[in-house]
Symmetry: C2
Subunit: 409 residues, 2 copies
């Protein structure tokens, strides 16, 4: 045992501090290996998980995936390398030469000189079977393993790219990113079930609050963004929001992500829907084709139905507020926005009628000290992903879905 360990360590230190005369092979991701334009005959090292094994009389074919791309790298080895441990799901390190593939199926392939099994995969217990395409419902039972499938792997890579794109887009357009708080003493929407937060040791004595006041998980960063748009003009946040709704629908989660933006010196709903129009155009073709239906902007909701902060349209008996929702077939409300009531006296009256003047004194302050017309919107990130990917159930576009009766892992 000691000998084996000693040897393993010697090999390990040899690979991190190269032995004289031996250049260690360059480590490549599967994506980089597949995308290589030419090869200088150098040895490379690729690490990943076996997606398929095909054993022929003289040649062994493996497909290796490391999550860097949907496509796997074909490894071609002498059949003498074959052994039982080279099985679906096992992790391996392969060293060899990256060469042009003679097949049209792939650009490059790896001619193996050394194959090491890093970790076995217990095939009888592994819930995914070789060559089987499991339904998304089945995969949902295994939140710790489903990311290894083509379907979830691809969805989560798109989610990661979309996350990066959202940050870049707002940055490039001069928006300041704000981490709006997760724990808050406000209830922005004034409706819907909230999650309350208390230290676990104190949860049985709710009369004592850790924060001195009852504290909840945020349902929206809007009011906090309004604080910030009064300083930075254009701000955005992209973070988790929460609803304690007793819903098992394919469109609701207890924990989901929102992209929210707030813009000062905005005077019409059109200024917010211009933002929306991009999305509209982008999706219209897809939606028209697949759903026989199109996204719809709904504007100017009755004042009585909407929260106190929406701007009064002063349109007589209709009495509406400057609100807009973007409804998308199959997904429902994707986007909601409004102009905010920036006029001190209008807001003061609305708050007084709801008995909220004291609670929202700070919010009134924003209208006392250099108020500006402003507005903003929020977009449900998971619904956006459902929309662009055509995924029916919201639980399949988030890594670890949380909903009523379920908080696995």
């Amino acid at each position: 045992m000691f000998g084996a360990r000693f040897l393993a360590r010697a090999l390990r230190s040899c690979s991190s501090a190269p032995c004289p005369g031996h250049r260690p092979p360059a480590r490549l991701s599967v994506r980089d290996a597949l995308g290589a334009q030419s090869t200088s005959g150098e040895r490379v090292k690729v690490q990943g998980w076996i997606r398929s094994v095909r054993s022929q009389k003289e040649v062994l074919f493996l497909h290796i995936n490391d999550g860097s791309s949907l496509e796997s790298l074909q490894v071609v080895a002498d059949s003498s390398f074959d052994n039982r441990e080279l099985a679906f799901g096992s992790s391996v390190e392969v060293q060899g030469q990256l060469v042009k593939s003679p097949s049209k199926k792939q650009n490059m392939e790896l001619k193996a000189e050394k194959i090491e099994v890093v970790g076995n995969c217990d095939a009888t217990a592994f819930p995914f079977k070789y060559k089987e395409r499991h339904p998304l419902e089945y995969l949902r039972q295994y939140p710790h393993l489903r990311c290894r499938t083509n379907a979830l792997g691809s969805i989560l890579r798109v989610r990661s790219e979309a996350t990066a794109a959202i940050h870049s887009f707002f940055k490039d357009n001069g928006f300041v990113h704000i981490h709006t708080p997760i724990i808050t003493s406000n209830d922005c929407e004034g409706a819907g079930e909230l999650f309350q937060v208390e230290p676990s040791s104190k949860i049985k004595m709710p009369e004592e609050n850790f924060f001195n006041v009852p504290a909840f998980l945020t349902v929206s960063g809007q009011l906090h963004l309004e604080v910030m748009s009064g300083a930075f003009t254009q701000v955005f946040t992209f973070g988790p929001t929460f609803r304690a709704e007793n819903s098992q629908s394919r469109r609701h989660l207890a924990e989901f992500y929102m992209v929210e933006a707030e813009i000062s010196f905005v005077e019409s709903l059109q200024d917010l829907m211009q933002w929306g129009v991009d999305l509209h155009t982008e999706h219209e073709k897809y939606l028209v084709k697949h759903c026989g239906n199109i996204p719809v902007f709904v504007i100017n909701y009755p004042l009585a139905l909407k929260p106190f902060y929406m701007r009064d349209n002063e349109d007589g008996p209709q009495h509406t507020v400057a609100a807009v929702d973007l409804l998308v077939p199959g997904v429902g409300e994707l986007f909601g926005g409004s102009l905010r009531e920036e006029r001190y006296h209008f807001l003061e009256q609305r708050l007084a009628r709801s008995g909220l003047t004291e609670t929202y004194q700070w919010y009134l302050d924003l209208r006392r000290f250099g108020s500006v017309p402003h507005g903003g919107f929020g977009m449900g990130f998971e619904r956006y992903l459902q929309c662009i990917l055509g995924i029916d159930n919201i639980k399949d576009v988030i890594p670890f879905p949380r909903f009523t009766h379920s908080c696995i892992l």
Copy 2:
């Protein structure tokens, strides 16, 4: 009243759909106005808040800031524009010509042709006074207004830039971004006070759990990242984490942000500290100069002190685990990382000894199905900001600080 509203609407529609013969002035941010290289004599529009007013016999000087930069734009106007409403903190819209400034203090200035006060500022009630530099402690009382000061404005712009840089850095290095869950049924650290989560209407009947199991706010995304590094090899998360610690110190918050990364096929702590070394080098000069001290990596902690997931060093009577912390003068622990125990039987024994085998069956699964040596680290984002900005109190580097007895807004 109707007439005024009608006029206001007509003017508004005139500015959004230009009247024939009049091109509306281009809207410029203060930053873009200050950075303009040349002017073609076109009229521009700048919107923002007044930072200073200086009235001379024939000329009025205003400084306008919109949060796009630390520097304000100087507006030069005929003294006939002067009026009481042009005061510190008021919001204004200025139209005019952007011209080279004769003064060396600034590159460009705005020759005003039209100045409109958008929103007054009640100077007697406004907690910040003209030309006064308020201490950070004082500003902390006004979380809804302090972002309008030079100090907080600058800090939050750096925070926004650092956020964008973190996303770019990991993306450029082939990491997949993962939204690890905020609500979780796991307790990663096995220590420290957790926040428990329940729907607010049910918080008085804790025997009924919304999620069927007790649910907590995450203290780390590590275990969930380990799930993902088993599919994508290199993953990161950047989100809020929580500790219900009864601490009012200048280094602790109940809600703070962590950057966490997890990397598969990593076999030595050095592979993680390479990552750390960048940081070390970046800060060493500053820290040596300002603190007379240097950051220190502490490695290989006693097994008995550390959580079950850290890799056993098998080093005899010392019995340590492969853990590393980066301690930084003035800030304390900035960075913590470890190799994770990837060997099934080692982990199984550790979990069994703690009676956690059943709870962490899913975590053991990761070691049954293609396990790989892996490791990762977490960095406290606020402490990082304290470090690079030299800010003494952590409450000044986050927009809305949450700590014991305080959850303002």
